[in-house]
């Protein structure tokens, strides 16, 4: 007898297997590409519901908006469905709705329909939100033609969201201004999509972090990645918290970053476009596609040694998104 465990939802290898074996679906892209329409859906649960830098409402909007951007779409419409626990404070709900509205306005999308269900007290953690989204494809980005030497760009520091949440939840009480990076990336990514740089693939490295994102991309493909520890931007406070908790930043969720596979010839131009936006100031190439070790993400450490950065298997991080 096998059961669903929390690890099946961790965004790691078990999630992939669940999608393949039970849902019999492919888990290739962040949104479905249907002609010139992109369509996606995402459910959100987070503990705590309000955290430094945002709340579940902001997360629910930006998560879906970013998934649409990933396939080269301009996000247009969202639905939102709430599952609320009886006894949940009205004021909190209002606050969540307000931040959803704000984030929707910021990302240029309209929330056009919704649904509400209330479940018994104790049957859910306050509130869960599902959002679905529709976008208009500007140009489809589907992970095709990825080849040796393509650059891997991250648009900023990694691990901020995961560790900000852990810092609050584990009450580490570190004096830091670390906050979640949760943000919709329309302003950052749309100009890139609208330009003519050769984007091969994009993904927002949420659950499972950078490690999951890259592993998933080379899963069953004929290429792998070589990335360089020294190039990967990590905040100093994130480094410290990571050290204390014994969790590497590569596995921590991000909610306002993008990983982009870019043809080498357009890398510089792409970085210029990204850096001209506040959200992409520290965008940088962290490594390259390599066919030498297919299906493997090789991390070159700052000491000059090499190791494999695996797909997270069990949940390295307590559930945070």
């Amino acid at each position: 007898m096998s059961y669903i465990t929390l690890d099946h939802g961790s965004g790691g290898k078990l999630t992939l297997e669940l999608i393949e074996n039970v849902f019999k679906a492919e888990s290739g892209l962040d949104s479905a590409v249907l002609g010139d329409i992109a369509f996606t859906t995402d459910s959100h649960s987070v503990k705590p519901l309000f955290f430094k830098g945002g709340d579940i409402g902001k997360l629910a909007v930006s998560g879906t908006v970013n998934d649409l951007l990933c396939v080269g779409a301009k996000p247009l419409y969202l639905s939102s469905a709430f599952i609320i626990e009886a006894g949940f404070e009205m004021e909190k709900l209002k606050k969540i709705v307000k931040s959803m509205k704000e984030e929707a306005r910021k990302s240029g999308v309209e929330i056009v329909c919704g649904d509400t269900k209330v479940v018994e007290n104790g049957k859910c953690d306050g509130v869960y939100i599902n959002t679905s989204g529709i976008g208009k494809i500007i140009r489809p980005i589907e992970g095709k033609n990825i080849k040796d030497g393509d650059g891997i760009i991250v648009t900023g520091t990694i691990g901020d969201h995961g560790f900000a949440i852990l810092n609050e939840r584990e009450q580490l009480n570190l004096e830091t201004d670390l906050k979640s990076d949760v943000s919709s990336l329309t302003d950052l990514i749309l100009p890139l999509i609208e330009s003519d740089v050769d984007i091969k693939f994009m993904r927002d490295p949420t659950r499972g972090g950078l490690a999951m994102c890259l592993n998933e991309l080379c899963y069953r493909r004929d290429f792998g990645f070589e990335i360089f520890e020294e190039k990967i931007p990590v905040r100093e406070d994130v480094r410290v918290i990571a050290e204390i908790l014994g969790i590497e930043p590569y596995y921590a969720a991000n909610e306002g970053k993008m990983v982009i596979v870019m043809d080498k010839k357009d890398e510089e131009r792409a970085l210029d476009i990204l850096k001209s936006n506040e959200l992409g100031r520290s965008a940088v190439t962290i490594g390259r596609v390599s066919s030498k070790n297919p299906q493997l993400v090789i991390l070159n450490t700052k000491f000059g040694s090499k190791r494999v950065l695996r797909m997270p298997t069990t949940d390295k991080m307590p559930r945070i998104c």
């Binding site: 059961y3 465990t5 000491f303 494999v308 069990t314």
Partner: protein, 364 residues
């Protein structure tokens, strides 16, 4: 932060060059250096340190993962209790997925047993305060966690419904016994950075005296581990094995006297079953008579089957723990045995060698 020094790429490179060019080149054979601490294995894998060592220097992981050496006899017993009585079991997260002969804590939980993860004994005691049923803390770990257990029992005001099932183990004697029996062999020993803060270094003098093995304590940064390896090689080359402190900023020779006293006050050392390794005398921390009111084994009449045999289901953890094979030599590794569906305990804990290798070893 001064820890930076120990992770300075330049220093790390210098150390690895010195190891290569000055010391290892003078030794015309394979040198087996063992560490006995899961956190060391974690550092070695995370920093890719094996990749920085010359061919003939092999660093192997010994019995350094407390979860891995916890007998399935104890896991079975506590799970049976959790399923048959109205009790709550608390334990560390690492323990949850470790399979006993029948079930793991996690599977027992999905069958309705009340099992909660805690971060420390203090957390376990706090949880007990708001609970009406007996709470049993399944206390796993070496000296480093046995010491807090001891001081909590001495110092804290503990609710009547709090109990302990101790599977705490004492490392130095365990490793000594394994060496003596010939089950493990090595040319040098990296002493555990955490456990030795409690036990001190004197207990390791016997290793030098009886087996002529260089023993060097080490911290957990990249340079710490390489420094210990370098010191061991130097001792080998000069033919003067000794106990040496490579982690002076944290460990002192005497250890932590207060913690040692607390351990002696609360526990005595009894023989214990080490999973995969068998029974070893004077290595299991059991509660002293004055503290027997906390002893779950006594208060809940725990019984063990006669002639208990550890079922390993093809798992070679025993050999992995002894450093006799690497995980790659186990044919279940990464195929039938993965962290999400582990066959043996070494694939469960973050301190387990198989788990560490799986999560990111060198390049295979």
């Amino acid at each position: 932060m001064d820890l930076e020094v120990f992770n300075d790429p330049e220093i790390v490179k210098k150390l690895s060059e010195t190891i290569k060019n000055k010391e290892s080149s003078r030794i015309n054979r394979t040198v087996k250096i063992m560490h006995i601490c899961g956190t060391h294995e974690n550092s070695i894998v995370r920093f890719g340190l094996r990749d920085l060592l010359p061919e003939n220097i092999k660093v192997i992981a010994g019995p350094g993962c407390p979860v891995c050496v916890t007998s399935s006899r104890d896991i079975d017993a506590i799970i049976d209790l959790a399923l048959s009585e109205n009790v709550r079991i608390t334990t560390f997260g690492d323990m949850l997925k470790v399979p006993g002969t029948k079930l793991s804590f996690q599977k027992a939980h999905s069958l309705g047993a009340d099992i909660q993860m805690v971060y420390s004994i203090f957390d376990a005691i706090e949880q007990t305060r708001s609970s009406k049923k007996p709470n049993i803390f399944f206390a796993c770990g070496f000296e480093t966690t046995a010491a807090p257990t001891a001081s909590a029992l001495i110092d804290l005001d503990i609710p009547d419904n709090f109990f302990i099932y101790s599977v705490h183990k004492y490392t130095p004697k365990g490793v000594y016994a394994l060496l003596k029996s010939g089950k493990i062999n090595m040319d040098g020993l990296i002493l555990p950075g955490h456990a030795a803060t409690i036990s001190g270094l004197e207990v390791y003098e016997r290793f030098v005296k009886d087996f002529g093995i260089p023993c060097v304590s080490a911290g957990f940064e990249a340079a710490d581990v390489l420094l210990a390896i370098l010191l061991i090689l130097k001792q080998i080359n000069s033919g003067t094995p000794k106990v040496e402190n490579g982690y002076k900023r944290v460990i002192n020779y005497e250890g932590n006297k207060k913690a040692q006293e607390a351990l002696n006050e609360v526990f005595f050392l009894d023989s214990a079953i080490w999973r995969g390794l068998g029974e070893i005398n004077e290595t299991g921390y059991e509660l002293n008579r004055n503290y027997s009111r906390f002893d779950a084994k006594k208060n809940f009449g725990i019984k063990y089957p006669d002639n208990f045999i550890e079922h390993q289901k093809g798992c070679r953890c025993g050999e992995v723990i002894l450093g006799n094979i690497t995980p790659l030599e186990c044919h279940l590794y990464a195929k039938r045995c993965t962290p999400e569906d582990p066959i043996g305990p070494c694939m469960v804990s973050d301190e387990g060698t198989c788990k560490n290798w799986y999560d990111g070893g060198g390049i295979e």
